[in-house]
């Protein structure tokens, strides 16, 4: 059974790298949706295996929120703002994907040194999913568009959730519920701010926020 979870962690890592290689805003949303779907399926399979009700609830919540509702909401946001076609990222794609690969290697090498973790045999899921957190942060750093920042934040959340899921079979239900409510509120607030940015600058390019400097 463990090897299936290793596979899932690897597929999630792959979706993270594909996310870094994406160039258009709608593809970000789609890739995030696929990643959340994979995590949900992993959570549901784990719920079936361990017979925990909490995992089932959390899995269904994740399905509704991150796979169906939040991407729909983000797409609506995207359609309402003006978008211009421009190069949305700082360095070029091959270098960014190599940096992502480097992050994975760094995660692995630092986690491998800890003897207690390698004794339990959870090195692969832990390092892959931790790398997703870092890749989400890399994604936020490298994108200029505000939508990219939101997706990066969501991917960090995904990474934390899947780390807990595949390493220790989930966090306590209260913690998970708290995280989801936080997430929802944060997304709604961020979308409202995007509308404001768009009204002020006629674009959501965060480079333009630079002009607000005194």
């Amino acid at each position: 059974m463990n090897s299936i979870y290793d596979m899932f962690s690897m597929i999630i890592l792959l979706s993270g790298i594909v996310l870094i290689a994406n160039k258009r805003s709608l593809s970000y949303i789609r890739t995030f949706q696929v990643q959340s779907l994979v995590i949900t399926i992993g959570a549901l399979i784990m719920a079936a295996e361990t017979q925990h009700l909490e995992l089932l609830i959390v899995g269904c919540l994740m399905l509704f929120l991150k796979v169906i509702y939040i991407p729909k909401y983000l797409r609506r946001t995207y359609n309402k703002v003006t978008h211009e076609i421009h190069k949305d990222f700082y360095l070029n794609i091959p270098i960014l994907s190599f940096i992502a690969c480097l992050l994975v290697v760094i995660c692995y090498i630092s986690i491998y040194q800890i003897p207690l973790i390698s004794a339990k045999g959870v090195v692969t899921p832990l390092s892959c999913n931790l790398a997703i957190v870092l890749i989400g942060l890399l994604f936020m750093i490298s994108r200029k568009d505000a939508l990219g920042h939101i997706i990066g934040f969501l991917v960090i959340e995904n990474g934390l959730f899947s780390t807990a899921l595949f390493t220790t079979r989930g966090m306590p239900l209260i913690v998970d519920l708290g995280i989801f409510i936080d997430l929802l509120t944060a997304i709604i607030i961020m979308s409202m701010i995007i509308f404001q940015i768009d009204t002020k600058f006629q674009s959501t390019d965060t480079d333009k926020l630079h002009n607000l400097r005194g």
């Binding site: 090897s3 299936i4 290793d6 596979m7 962690s9 690897m10 597929i11 890592l13 792959l14 790298i17 594909v18 290689a21 070029n92 794609i93 091959p94 994907s97 190599f98 992502a100 690969c101 994975v104 290697v105 692995y108 090498i109 491998y112 090195v123 692969t124 390092s127």
Partner: protein, 313 residues
Amino acid sequence: MTTLITYTFLQIIIMLLLAPLPTGIIRKIKARFQKRRGASIFQPYYDLIKLLKKPQVTISTTSSKVLVLTPYILLGSTLLAACLVPLSTKVTVNLPGDMLVLVYTLALGGFFLTLAALDTSSTFGGMGSSRENTLKSIIEPALIIALVTLAIYYGSTDLRKIMIESANSSLSIDPVHLLLLLALLMVTITETARIPIDDPSTHLELTMIHEAMILEYSGRHLGLVELAAYLKQLIYITLIANIFFPHDQLISFGGILGIVLSLSILVLKVIIISIILGLIETNTVKLRFFSIANYAALAVILSLLGFLCVYIF
């Protein structure tokens, strides 16, 4: 010695007979997705025979002997590569050549093809030649890392040994195979000039790479060059089919019955992979040429992660 010669001959005949089939299947799938009936899946066979039967060849006045020699050298080197691919454990052709020899034999064919394209002194030829060589240089690291990782995982760089080891080891779904399979699939699409990289059914200079190089060939030369392209596609498909999904451990007969059964299952696997390639072809769009660098970087990262999975994870 005689078994070697018979098996080599058998392998050449099988690869030649099977070569146009994947193209036919892919074209049929494309046609169906476009709501057309499409030509029969054996149409490439009929086209090839028609081309090979033509007695006349039109050769450009500006070309030297290189243009006339290339189809034969290209077909010869691709057939040599086809001999080095493992078909089945029942029909092992123990030629002294491993995966590196395979890759560089295909490079020999590619060298002559791209050279002859410059021979015709037309702009299309130069363009196709330049683009093809550029793509080869950025996709080759991914191919070599994937093959070397397989070599280290299974303990030998000889492809036939890898197939035997893979058949003997129990089927386990692990990240290494997934990553290497994806990387090799991306490399296959590039090397066989399929849709995200190059459109094989168009003749516009914006969209052609392989077609631009073979624009000046006609008659039997065109037939031979197309046959070599089909063979190259079959080589990559067979490689993926036999290394990642080995079937010989399911066959416990020996002798002629075993060989026939093994080869039929191989044909089935080739058909399935061609269907998958056809589905990829209909559902993606062709990339802008300089975006192919991003695609190649992704392929390298996938195979590098596959290697890291073996030796670090």
